[in-house]
């Protein structure tokens, strides 16, 4: 087992264990901190995959913005901080069965379609100017300029919508 595989397994364990904390912990605040740890693990996976820009975007957007937003929402709703009631609804067993079945299906498809022996390593090095190429793709009419603009409109709509939904009447 190479050093890279050891690092991969460690980072995956951090990601998976914190994800389990997110979905099972009674205390929602602890679940939110687990969510941050899980996002950090995913950023580590991006770094192993040599997607440095995406790892930075993950840190900024997920850990810096979304997790903080979730923590604010938890603190603004009083009943969320109570830890006496059960964290689950009336169907945790059926949910678990469904999730395990979905995992078996996904794992079967992944192993059958992309077997370990055929894809043991990346097929080539990442190009040197990958961030430059990414920027060119984002504004090129042949590539992603329309999704890029739609994403900016979507973010603007979400910004206005979030303010409009959560403001109180008369203020």
């Amino acid at each position: 087992m190479t050093i890279q595989q050891v690092v991969f397994i460690l980072i995956s364990l951090i990601t998976i264990i914190s994800a389990i904390v997110v979905v099972t912990d009674r205390n929602l605040f602890r679940a939110a901190v687990g969510l941050m740890a899980s996002f950090l693990g995913v950023a580590g996976l991006y770094i192993i995959l040599e997607a440095g820009f995406l790892a930075v975007a993950q840190l900024l957007v997920y850990i810096g913005a979304i997790s903080i937003l979730v923590i604010f929402a938890i603190m603004m709703t009083r009943r969320l901080m109570q830890t006496i009631e059960s964290p689950f609804n009336s169907q945790p067993v059926w949910g678990l069965i469904g999730a395990v079945l979905a995992f078996l299906l996904l794992a079967l498809v992944a192993i059958r379609t992309w077997p370990t022996a055929q894809y043991p390593a990346p097929s080539g090095p990442v190009v040197e100017s990958s961030v430059q190429q990414l920027g060119a793709l984002m504004v090129s009419p042949d590539a992603y300029v329309v999704p890029f603009e739609v994403a900016s409109v979507l973010l603007l709509a979400a910004l206005i919508g979030a303010v409009a939904i959560s403001r109180t009447e008369g203020s």
């Binding site: 990601t15 678990l96 992944a110 894809y119 080539g124 939904i165």
Partner: protein, 102 residues
Amino acid sequence: MVPLSWYLIVAALLFCIGLYGVMARRNAVAILMSVELMLNAVNINLVAFWRYLQPDLQVGVSWAIFVIAVAAAEAAVGLALIIAVYRSRDSVVAEELDTLKF
């Protein structure tokens, strides 16, 4: 080197943990957090396929960035909705929000 299937297994595991959270958690905020986990699992898959199958084209990374943008919008609007519901119903338990149930 790490084989491609390891990434796919980790992503599938993360996705199914998120799926379990969506199906079994009581709190609307916890359900939203589980959805974020599922979106992250999708991103791992996109980046892993890009790195292993098409490393000379930044297609997978571009899609992952769009997923991140949509996830940010979804979290902002979702949490605003949860706070608005909490103001009017004094509850964020998903099972108690059953006004539309007939």
